[in-house]
C-alpha cells in the first residue's frame, strides 16, 4: 500500500444557483511533500476547487481528503493541518501586520511567547519587519500579498494552499515568494497546492501540474513530461494582418508531417517534428499564399504550448492587483 496522499479529491462537482456548473468531476491526488500546480484561466474552477478542499465551500457531489481527513466530516481537523492564502488577500486594514499574525497564531492555539517570537521571524522572512507596526491599510498590494502568505504559514502547516500567490506582484517580489516556497518544500517537506495564471511560475515551482478548463481536467503530468508529450517542435508564425490568419492556418494544415495547428487572433502555431528543416518550406508556402509574415520562430514546446494544445487557447493573465508593488 502506498503512502497516503496529502490531498485527494474524487469526482468533485460544484453547481451554483441557476445551474452554473463550476466543477465537473475533478479528481486529483497530491503526494506529501509535492508542489502541485493547478493551471487555468479565470473562471476555470481553480478557486472553487481550493475553497472546497479548504472546507470553505461544500461540494455538490464528490469527496475530498486532506492528510487522510474527510473535508466534510472532519472539517475542523482539516483546518488545523492546512494554511491558506486565497486569491484576494483577506486582511484587516485596522490591525498592524504584527497584530494580524499574532492573532492568527492565537486562533491556531499557539501560546503567547511562542507566537510573538515566531511572528518576528516570519515578518523577517517575508521582508515586512520594518512595516510590522504599521496599520495594514498603509501597505501596498505586494506587501499585503506577502503578509497574507505569512498568515497562511503562521502555524507551520503541513499542507499549504496558495491561490494565485504572486498575481499582481513585481518580478522581484515574485522571485522572493518563489524562493520561500521552494525552501519550505525542500527543508520542511511542506506540501503546496498552488493555483496560478503564470506558466513561468508553474514551470519553476511545480513538480506536477494539472490544467483545468471549464471545470474539467484536460491535462496532467510533470511540466517536463507534458512538454515532452508534444514530441514536436513549435513553429510560431506571427501574421502581419489578422485577416490572413485563416490562410496561414490552411497553409500549415497542408504541410507534410504536421501534427497539429493552433491559431490565435494574430498567430498560427504549427506542431511538427524536425521544425528546423521545415521553416524554409513554411516561409515559401506562406509567401505563395500571399500571407504577410511579421515574424517566425522555432522553439521547443513550452507550458504555453501544452496549455494551448490542451485548451485550444493561450492562458490569458489577469493581473488582478493593478499597480501593486512590493
Amino acid at each position: 500500500m502506498g503512502a497516503m496522499p496529502a490531498i485527494e479529491a474524487v469526482a468533485l462537482v460544484k453547481e451554483y444557483e441557476r445551474g452554473v456548473r463550476a466543477l465537473d468531476g475533478v479528481s486529483l491526488s497530491v503526494e506529501a511533500g509535492e508542489i502541485f500546480g493547478f493551471l487555468g484561466q479565470n473562471g476555470s474552477g481553480k478557486s472553487t476547487t481550493i475553497r472546497i478542499l479548504t472546507t470553505l465551500l461544500a461540494p455538490t457531489a464528490g469527496s475530498g481528503r486532506i492528510g487522510g481527513l474527510d473535508i466534510r466530516r472532519e472539517a475542523g481537523a482539516v483546518r488545523e493541518k492546512i494554511g491558506v492564502a486565497l486569491q484576494e488577500a483577506g486582511l484587516d486594514d485596522l490591525q498592524t501586520g504584527r497584530e494580524l499574525l499574532v492573532l492568527q497564531g492565537h486562533l491556531y492555539g499557539m501560546s503567547g511567547g511562542a507566537v510573538e517570537r515566531w511572528v518576528v521571524e516570519l515578518l523577517q522572512i517575508v521582508d515586512l519587519e520594518d512595516a510590522a507596526e504599521r496599520p495594514i491599510r498603509t501597505y501596498s498590494g505586494g506587501m499585503k500579498r506577502r503578509l497574507d502568505l505569512a498568515s497562511a504559514l503562521v502555524h507551520a502547516p503541513e499542507i499549504v494552499f496558495l491561490d494565485e500567490p504572486t498575481t499582481g506582484l513585481d518580478p522581484i517580489a515574485r522571485e522572493g515568494i518563489w524562493r520561500y516556497i521552494e525552501r519550505l518544500n525542500r527543508e520542511d517537506g511542506v506540501t503546496f497546492f498552488l493555483t496560478t495564471q503564470y506558466l513561468e511560475e508553474a514551470d519553476r515551482l511545480a513538480q506536477r501540474i494539472m490544467i483545468l478548463e471549464a471545470g474539467r481536467i484536460v491535462a496532467e503530468g510533470s511540466p517536463e513530461a507534458l512538454k515532452a508529450a508534444i514530441a514536436t517542435d513549435v513553429v510560431t508564425v506571427q501574421v502581419g494582418e489578422a485577416s490572413a490568419v485563416g490562410r496561414a492556418a490552411d497553409v500549415a494544415q497542408g504541410l507534410a508531417g504536421v501534427e497539429d495547428v493552433r491559431r490565435t487572433d494574430t498567430a498560427v502555431a504549427i506542431y511538427l517534428p524536425e521544425g528546423s528543416a521545415a521553416v524554409a518550406r513554411i516561409v515559401r508556402l506562406l509567401d505563395e499564399a500571399q500571407v504577410p509574415v511579421a515574424s517566425i520562430t522555432l522553439a521547443r514546446p513550452t507550458l504555453d504550448d501544452v496549455f494551448l494544445r490542451a485548451t485550444g487557447h493561450h492562458l490569458a493573465v489577469d493581473e488582478g492587483l493593478d499597480g501593486a508593488t512590493a
Binding site: R79, E88, G90, Q95, E99, L103, Q104, L107, Y108
Partner: protein
C-alpha cells in the same frame, strides 16, 4: 469549550482595538443621542409635568438616550462584520480552527463592553444636567450592566443581517429597525397619555419594559418587578437576535 473561550477572548480584543482606532465611528454614538436628549428636554421640559405627569423630564429622557446610544453602538457591529466579509477577512477566520460561535460571541462581548462605556458617558452627562438617580450608585451599576446586556442582545440583529446578506446597505438596517421600536414605545411620554392604538402597541414592545426598568432606577428607586421585566425584555431581544444570528452563521459558514 476552552478553545471557544480563548478564541472569543482574542477576537474580542481585536474588536475592541478596532473600536479604539475608529473614534470617528464611536463618537457619533454618544454625540447624536446627547443632541436628541438636549433638544427633547428643551422642547418638552416645561410642559412635561402638566402634559405627561412627569416631574423630572430630564430623568425620564436619560434612559432613552442611553438606549439610543447603545443601539447605535450595537448596530455598528453588523457593518464591521460586512466589511470583514467584503475584504475576505471573515473567510480567513473561517479557515482557522476557531469555533464558529466564537466569531459571533466575540462581537457580542465587545459590544457589551462598548455599550457599558457609552451608556456610562450618557448617564454621567445626564446627572450633570439635572437627572436624579434615586437608586444611587448601585442603581447606576445596574443601569450600565443592563445596557451592556442590551448592547450584546441588540447587536445580534445587525450581525444576523450582515451574515445573511453580506451587504453593507442591508447591514445598516440594524439601526433603522431600532427607530420604529423606539417611537412605538414610551420613549417620549408615559403610555397613559397615548392614543389607545399606540398604548396597545407599546404594551407589546420590549423597549417599553426596558425603559420602565431603567426609569424606575432613575426616578423612583429600587423596583424589583420593573427591573425583572427590563431584564426579561433584554433576554427576549437577545434570544430572538442570537437565534437569528446563529441561523445566519450556519448558512454562511460550514
Amino acid at each position: 469549550m476552552m478553545r471557544t473561550a480563548t478564541a472569543t477572548y482574542w477576537l474580542t480584543k481585536r474588536a475592541l482595538r478596532e473600536a479604539l482606532r475608529q473614534p470617528e465611528v464611536e463618537l457619533p454614538q454618544i454625540l447624536i443621542p446627547l443632541f436628541f436628549l438636549a433638544t427633547i428636554i428643551g422642547a418638552a421640559n416645561q410642559i412635561a409635568p402638566q402634559a405627561f405627569g412627569v416631574s423630572n423630564y430630564t430623568g425620564f429622557q436619560v434612559p432613552v438616550a442611553m438606549v439610543q446610544a447603545v443601539a447605535g453602538v450595537a448596530s455598528v457591529s453588523g457593518i464591521v462584520m460586512v466589511t470583514d466579509i467584503e475584504r475576505g477577512y471573515f473567510d480567513k477566520l473561517l479557515l482557522t480552527p476557531t469555533p464558529r460561535i466564537a466569531l459571533v460571541l466575540s462581537r457580542l462581548v465587545a459590544d457589551a463592553v462598548r455599550a457599558t462605556v457609552v451608556s456610562t458617558v450618557i448617564l454621567v452627562v445626564g446627572l450633570a444636567i439635572g437627572s436624579p438617580l434615586e437608586a444611587g450608585v448601585g442603581g447606576a451599576v445596574i443601569l450600565v450592566l443592563l445596557m451592556g446586556a442590551f448592547g450584546a442582545a441588540y447587536s445580534g440583529i445587525g450581525l444576523a443581517i450582515s451574515l445573511r446578506t453580506g451587504n453593507p446597505q442591508a447591514a445598516q438596517l440594524g439601526i433603522l429597525i431600532f427607530f420604529p421600536l423606539l417611537f412605538l414605545s414610551t420613549a417620549f411620554a408615559p403610555k397613559e397619555v397615548f392614543e389607545p392604538w399606540l398604548e396597545t402597541v407599546a404594551e407589546f414592545n420590549p423597549v417599553t419594559y426596558l425603559l420602565a426598568g431603567m426609569r424606575s432606577l432613575v426616578l423612583e428607586g429600587w423596583d424589583g418587578a420593573d427591573l425583572g421585566y427590563a431584564f426579561a425584555a433584554v433576554g427576549g431581544i437577545g434570544g430572538f437576535s442570537l437565534g437569528l444570528t446563529m441561523l445566519a452563521l450556519r448558512l454562511r459558514a460550514r
